[in-house]
């Protein structure tokens, strides 16, 4: 590790959409606010901290949020405004030639040049002040030796917080936290670990080699390093696009296959245009279906020749949809995804 990139800071705007709404409508300050669309199926996109004690948080269906919190004030989203603010925030991140790895509109890792933890903390504090001065929005930040710890730190000090973890203190900081906070440990692995009585990261870090190997297979060394707070992944400026996707949640469930095929046709056109703009072709096409019972199923197919032709994408997507074997089951969401992207044009010519 060289002195230049010694620290990673993770920044995350507090309740981004909701905070923007409160900023622009001061009468909402101190009240439970949710940003959500207006369709029958709308879900909460962001909730203000005042709404969260009621269980109102992102991805909760709006009707449930209203039941849980009758005083909830619902504000429609304004994507254009969010994008403009996001650009301002990223400009601040990138000042002084800093390396920035954007995770979403309001979240990023920033490589911080600093010789000591105090210096790194001050850099992060400076960035937070600049963002507040420019946007009147508060940002929480975590500073640490690696990306994962920095993110866990910023999540732990929300809202309007700054938490720096000194090199060497990572394992102690992680130890009391639930294992699910570690990257790569999802609900399934969490359940498996629970069977062995492992609930905290500290308990995981204390396991011996044989048990780690048994639980994690070939991944056990990385899992142990993460549990000890060792994370060597660098902040990467531009993440390569690996796939492009589009999806649609229907206002009402759809069971008619012809209607679903019509949606795939439109999505194929949209993806063909996106591939064209990105100067890439794709060799994998997949569909994602969420049934009315919320079960999700995906199918994908590989193409012998990469393409950006809407017709090929569409036909392959239809094939994938048929392989789902819906048998008339109502569908809530349908999406198409193209992957195995290769730069360039489709160059193989055809016989017919």
């Amino acid at each position: 590790m060289n002195a230049r990139d010694k620290f990673v800071a993770h920044f995350d705007v507090d309740a981004f959409y909701a905070s923007v709404a409160v900023r622009d409508h001061p009468e909402l300050r101190g009240k439970p606010v949710a940003v959500a669309g207006s369709s029958r199926r709308a879900v909460v996109l962001t909730a203000s901290y005042e709404a969260r004690p009621y269980g109102v948080r992102s991805a909760v269906p709006l009707y449930k949020a209203r039941m849980a919190c009758p005083d909830l004030i619902v504000v429609p989203p304004d994507m254009q405004k969010y994008r403009a603010i996001s650009r301002e925030i990223f400009e601040i991140f990138e000042r002084d030639g800093r390396t920035v790895e954007g995770m979403s509109m309001d979240e990023a890792f920033v490589a911080v040049e600093a010789a000591t933890l105090d210096e790194a903390r001050e850099s992060a504090a400076q960035i937070r002040r600049e963002i507040f001065a420019c946007t009147r929005l508060t940002v929480s930040a975590g500073v640490a030796s690696g990306k994962m710890i920095a993110k866990i730190a910023s999540d732990s000090c929300k809202p309007d917080g700054l938490l720096a973890i000194a090199p060497g203190d990572e394992a102690a900081f992680l130890a009391p936290l639930p294992v699910g906070r570690l990257w790569g440990i999802g609900p399934k692995m969490q359940a498996r670990l629970a069977v062995f009585g492992i609930a905290t990261i500290g308990e995981l870090a204390a396991l011996d080699d044989a048990r780690m190997r048994e639980l994690f297979g070939s991944w056990w060394r990385e899992a142990r390093e993460l549990a000890h707070g060792i994370d060597r992944r660098p902040v990467e400026a531009e993440r390569e696009t690996k796939s492009i996707s589009t999806e649609e949640t229907f206002e009402y469930d759809v069971s008619d296959e012809r209607q679903l095929v019509g949606v795939l046709r439109a999505q194929a056109l949209e993806l063909a245009e996106a591939l064209e703009r990105a100067h890439t072709v794709c060799a994998t096409v997949g569909v994602k279906v969420r049934r009315a019972d919320f079960t999700v199923v995906g199918r994908q197919a590989h193409l012998s020749e990469p393409t950006r032709e809407a017709r090929r994408i569409f036909r392959t997507a239809v094939h994938c949809l048929r392989r789902v074997e819906l048998q008339g089951a109502p569908v809530r969401l349908l999406g198409t995804r193209v992957a195995s992207l290769v730069e360039g044009d489709a160059r193989q010519t055809s016989l017919f």
Binding site: L303, S304, T316, V318, G344, Q348, L351, F352
Partner: protein
């Protein structure tokens, strides 16, 4: 039923049949092989409802009848027996095997629930020398499409019979393989069959050694094809559809050509492809002064340059191909020299062996890459 046979005979028959069984079938009995005993023979059958393979072997049949046994399990068991003789007794629910001092009982399913063979109403039929058919299959099926999304027709291989000639064609739209040979009987009506390529692969694997293969169309609409050689018979449901007009895409005339050493060109292309890297595997062939220059380049790997001496006729040319496709075609050309014919940088090229095979004429057409 009750019979005894050599472990080698039954292992070969059950092993071949078990390859047809679809491991993901949801119909339990389709996971099983059917064994039917009659006089001095046991016939083993497996099917996935599209493809059926029957393989008979000699046995001492003490009591006729039939039994079905889980295919993969039974094949693995038989594969683990040393040479010798075994005795099998079958009932609707159990198959018991005695071999030396061991005794195994396999759970069986009632044989009368096994799907019957298609009705034997026959359409046209002909015989073909085993070697000719096997060479034709090997020369063509690799060029068929493996993409289900593009439909079953392109995944099949076309068998076109006319008089005493058989033409086999496979294409995925980017390359085309054609094999023209003769059959042993003259057919009165011209026939076209689109055969799932995997069925032909089974034919090459199981019937290729035989002297003569009988091919006959089955069913009222001739929607199935049976191919029989010796003790093995493969029946397949034909693909329903219109095969692309392949004759239209094979240029009638070319204006330039090279004759090149097949192994030398394969070796050059394989090395150059390493550098070409990306999915399109683009290599360029430049032909001038009786020399073929193979080049490839990529930002990541660097540049490749290879020179080969060729016999050139006609004008100079530079053309680009997907190296994988060209190598795959050249790998199917038997003989030291290949002839590649061209019309221009964006027109189909034809590849064939300089010396045709004894068993039939191979022709390949490959579309170039746009540079």
């Amino acid at each position: 039923m009750k019979f005894s046979c050599t472990t080698k005979d039954i292992a070969a028959a059950v092993g071949a049949a078990s390859k047809v069984v679809n491991a993901h079938t949801t119909v339990p009995i389709l996971s099983n092989v059917l064994l039917q005993g009659e006089s001095e023979k046991i016939a083993v059958r497996a099917t996935d409802l599209e493809l059926t393979l029957e393989h008979a072997f000699p046995a001492q049949v003490a009591e006729g009848g039939s039994v079905t046994i889980p295919a993969k399990l039974f094949a693995s068991y038989l594969g683990n027996l040393a040479a010798g003789t075994l005795e099998l007794t079958g009932t609707p629910t159990r198959a018991s095997v005695k071999y030396e001092r061991s005794n195994y009982d396999f759970h069986a399913l009632p044989a009368d629930e096994y799907p019957p063979l298609p009705a034997a109403a026959r359409g046209s039929q002909f015989g073909i020398a085993g070697r000719r058919f096997r060479d034709g299959i090997e020369a063509t099926i690799f060029a068929a499409s493996s993409e289900e999304a593009r439909g079953a027709v392109l995944m099949g291989t076309l068998l076109e019979v006319e008089g005493k000639s058989l033409t086999m064609v496979a294409t995925d739209g980017y390359r085309l393989a054609k094999f023209a040979t003769t059959i042993e009987d003259e057919v009165s009506a011209n026939e076209k069959f689109i055969v799932p390529s995997r069925a032909l692969a089974e034919v090459a694997r199981n019937l290729g050694g035989g002297e003569r293969i009988e091919v006959s169309a089955l069913g009222a609409q001739s929607n199935q094809l049976r191919m029989t050689g010796g003790d093995v018979s493969i029946t397949v449901r034909l693909v329903d559809g219109q095969y692309p007009n392949y004759q239209q895409v094979i240029p009638a005339k070319f204006d330039r050509s090279v004759t090149v050493s097949t192994p030398a060109l394969i070796a050059s292309l394989r090395r150059a492809e390493l550098v070409a890297g990306d999915r399109a595997s683009m290599v360029k062939l430049a032909i001038a002064n009786q020399t073929l220059i193979v080049t490839a380049s990529s930002d990541i790997s660097g540049n490749a340059y290879e020179e080969l001496e060729v016999e050139q006729s006609g004008e100079d040319l530079t053309i680009a191909f997907n190296a994988r496709y060209l190598v795959e075609i050249l790998n199917h050309i038997k003989g030291d020299k290949a002839v590649i014919e061209f019309l221009g940088p964006l027109s189909p090229a034809a590849i064939r062996p300089l010396e045709p095979l004894e068993t039939g004429q191979q022709l390949y057409v490959l579309m170039p890459l746009r540079q």
